[in-house]
């Protein structure tokens, strides 16, 4: 997968929040084999905990994708993106502009506007969006070269609520990297998304809050790889009725 002139061989992006400990986060990153991790920006505390976290993350060697999580307006998101670019020394930004506090649904109108401002300013925007095709088109027009549709609300673990809409996105945007961001709960959800032709999965809660985060990270990585191979191998179509797989020709008459 190639995103913004960067080759990414492992189609899994891992969030860094909610792990039981920094050590377990590191184990999960290693177990998943992922090359990209997401991070955030929050108010610095007097004990400087931010620097320690940043040092630990750099040790993993993973590429950093900062987010604008929690931003509800264009200005908040744009300002946060600029702060992230300086702090993390990357022009990648996972752009979230949240429209609703309960569902954490993206405000797609503000998202498109923020994406336009940021791409004009040299950012490489990864927009967290819905599965709406027209919004996807507007984001591409705004300069995005990747789309990140939700599978289900953030942290819900519901899996893919609208697989048909994701299938339509795949068909509508054949050359555009599509990353399912949010809603994955189990490895089978991740495999399903990849079988639909998604290019990668971004997940956090499903790994971080699992009983064994490193074990779940590995399971997700395997499921994602299985789903990717399954899509590439062109699965059969579903049928309503049974079709015998053993040849009927040459069947003995034994009555």
């Amino acid at each position: 997968m190639r995103i913004y002139d960067t080759d990414i061989s492992v189609p899994m992006f891992l969030g860094t929040a909610q792990y039981p400990s920094p050590a377990i986060l590191q184990q999960a990153i290693r177990a998943s084999g992922c090359e990209v991790v997401t991070v955030s920006l929050r108010r610095e505390t007097s004990d400087g905990t931010g620097a320690g976290f940043w040092d630990m993350l750099r040790e993993t060697g993973a590429r950093i994708l900062p987010n604008t999580a929690g931003c509800h307006s264009v200005q908040e998101a744009v300002t946060t993106a600029h702060m992230a670019r300086e702090l993390f020394a990357t022009d990648w930004i996972k752009l979230e502009v949240i429209g609703h506090a309960d569902t954490l649904q993206p405000d797609v109108f503000a998202l498109v506007e923020a994406a336009r401002i940021l791409t004009a300013d040299g950012f490489k925007v990864f927009p967290y969006t819905t599965d709406d095709l027209i919004v996807g088109e507007k984001l591409l027009e705004a300069g995005c070269q990747v789309l990140m549709p939700w599978g289900a609300p953030i942290g819900s673990g519901q899996g893919l609520r609208t697989p048909d809409a994701l299938r339509a996105m795949r068909a509508h945007f054949p050359g555009v990297p599509l990353i399912v961001d949010a809603g994955i709960g189990r490895p089978s959800d991740a495999a399903q998304a990849m079988e639909l032709g998604m290019d990668a999965i971004l997940l956090n809660t499903a790994v971080a809050k699992a009983g064994d985060p490193a074990g779940m990270a590995r399971a997700m990585a395997l499921a994602i790889e299985a789903g990717r191979m399954g899509f590439a191998a062109d699965p059969i179509d579903r049928r309503d009725m049974a079709v015998p797989s053993t040849p009927v020709l040459g069947l003995a008459e034994l009555l």
Partner: protein
């Protein structure tokens, strides 16, 4: 003068942003700043003069999804 730093009111005796950060104890290199909602690059902190009532945000890397 009084300014608001990460939603807390602080009395500071310095006038520029970089001096205020030092006075407030923000010594980590891993911070980014915004003044009244606008990003202030590290290179511009020395030349950024604060006024009473300013809202300063000092952010650091944090876990995120």
């Amino acid at each position: 003068m009084q300014i608001t730093v990460n939603a807390q009111t602080h009395e500071i005796s310095t006038e520029t942003l970089d001096a205020a950060l030092a006075e407030l104890g923000f010594t980590s290199p891993a911070i980014a700043t915004a003044l009244n909602g606008q990003f202030v690059p590290a290179s511009a902190r020395e030349a950024t003069v604060l006024t009473a009532g300013d809202r300063l945000e000092v952010l650091a890397p944090m876990q995120g999804g």
